[in-house]
Subunit: 346 residues, 2 copies
């Protein structure tokens, strides 16, 4: 593609017979330039069709007002909501988002980090892939002291901030709720135990079981990709176990919904045969029948908080050394877990 020559501050400076520095200052509304001249500069710039060239400015200023975002995938309700919140906050603060997907692969994640490095992003916003084992891929970021905010799927490490919810407590509450409904054989469907979110939900689940002196054996934990087709796999694993549970707590709504559909196909009644609780409060949880009991996860807020936090750090207006920011979740009780004639006990 041929490129037209652009209008630069030099063209403006020639047109007005002043220096480029003055034009630059004028366009940046610097008080160093007297008001009327500033106006004339802006006026002329508009007339000549001038467009600010970020690259030149970035090169000189060594900052890009760009945030690098790395997420597993963008096409889940939760993640697209997070991104939406982030984008809005970032845009309002004059920042742009460079988004890349790891597709749950550690290798792609690392490649994305490199690419974002090359783009000289001012900061990183990261939610980890299933595969990522440790903080190695991020050491370069730490070494260069580039701000990094993890959200949702985080990593404990040195100087970075995490925006999360209390997954342990959420897992505990969901499980506790199932127990209160009279469930005694509760299965948990989890994701990658490399990831805090799934590990903590699982731990909360275990804690709730043990607090109620309910037995647990390892066949009660089923790990899957939590995809919208995981229901089949889960059912097969359950059947292979011999006896069916009377309650299931899954680590996301997508798998919960898939599971409910499969359960119904097989003739199980939800919740009376098997109560189900999910996680995330995706819109589909209010559509599936029975409506899904779940944990409300504030996706948009998480995106907004993550973005505004990193921006505060970048602008130097964040003085406190924050380690993690915990947003509030909420157990949303719907029909999928309410055994007939039962009300919630304490």
């Amino acid at each position: 593609m041929k490129k037209k020559a652009e209008v630069t501050i030099y063209d403006i400076s020639k047109a007005l017979n002043i220096s480029a520095s003055t034009v630059s200052r004028g366009l940046n509304n610097s008080p160093q330039v007297r008001k009327e001249l500033r106006k004339k500069i802006m006026q002329t710039a508009r007339e000549m069709g001038y467009q600010h060239n970020k690259f030149a400015a970035n090169l000189r200023q060594k900052r890009t007002r760009t945030l690098g975002v790395i997420i597993p995938r963008i096409d889940s309700h939760f993640m697209s909501t997070v991104i939406s919140g982030m984008e809005k906050v970032a845009n309002n603060a004059g920042y742009q988002l460079l988004i890349s997907q790891s597709e749950e692969s550690a290798m792609l994640e690392e490649a994305n980090i490199q690419a974002l490095f090359n783009s000289r992003v001012d900061g990183f916003l990261v939610s980890l892939s299933f595969e990522t084992k440790n903080s190695d891929p991020f050491t370069e970021i730490f070494r260069k002291e580039i701000p990094l905010v993890f959200f949702d799927r985080v990593l404990e490490c040195g100087n970075c901030v995490s925006v999360i919810i209390d997954n342990f407590r959420a897992g505990y509450e969901a499980t506790r709720h199932l127990i209160n409904q009279g469930c005694t054989r509760i299965v948990h469907i989890g994701g990658s135990m490399n990831r805090n979110v799934y590990l903590d939900r699982y731990r909360g689940y275990r804690q709730a079981l043990s607090d109620s002196s309910l037995a647990y054996d390892e066949r009660q934990l089923i790990l899957t990709d939590l995809s919208d087709t995981s229901g089949v796999t889960i059912i097969n694993r359950l059947l292979a176990n011999g006896s069916m549970p009377d309650g299931i707590f899954t680590a996301n709504d997508t798998s919960a919904v898939s599971l409910i559909c499969e359960l119904k196909k097989k003739g199980y009644r939800v919740p009376d045969d098997i109560a189900v609780a999910g996680f995330n409060d995706d819109p589909v949880s209010r559509i599936v029948e029975p409506n899904l009991t779940t944990i409300h996860y504030p996706g948009r807020a998480m995106g907004e908080v993550a973005a505004s936090t990193i921006i505060r750090i970048l602008e130097g207006t964040q003085y406190e050394r924050v380690n993690s920011i915990i947003l509030t979740h909420e157990l949303i009780i719907r029909e999928s877990s309410l055994k007939t004639g039962r009300i919630e006990l304490q």
Copy 2:
């Protein structure tokens, strides 16, 4: 934030006692540099922790390998799928995406265009907001001859490519299907008639009615924001009309699902009292009960095609003057439209 001094090609050139030009060429794997030296340069670069600075390169080369994306919102299943496909294709081709949301506002859309201009994106990928009236906001893009690919919500104009599906035919097919099921009073729920997608679906609907000599009056068209709460509004409008329809064709699944829920609440049986057909084939269409008849819309493919098309244009490997690319859709018939004991007629 303080910035550490970066390792530049000059540092490498000093370390190897060769010129910066040679280093630059070596890093770009230019055959102008002899092989062993190339290797040594790359080796040293790696050892010294060199990171390519895109800005400097962009500034000189007057290209950014960045695509500007403007969409109404990212947090819908359809759009996040599109973006996911785009991002993957772009990344594989060495491009990055700068995504911004118009939030259905023409003003924000225009602001986004400006911001992307300033970032010197090589091309634009745009899906229009509800509000946008005409191509005015894009004239600057045309004037500068920056490639622009519209997708989904497109605009007929000069030199740009559109990636779409045949919304007219899809609307026709959905309506025709309802007619084949015996519906005679079919209502259409549409979005902004500024947008091709909604206008064409509506036209297809009208054509199908008229081809079957079914009457139409303007109360059969209800315009809403098609949101997940639109069901209530729609029901109220329907009730206000006096008589209820026996079929409803809505322009997206979100509103269809919301509507089905409301209809059920009010005691209407879907499909026997009222058959419903949606649009998009969101995952929720297979969850709602009854499962939703809908038009399968290839979102990921649309993102991929849009991205690869604009990249081909940018790389100059697209020779034909393409005006629009039409992807195939498919009518997916599920229970929400299948009247009892009825099979599809021709």
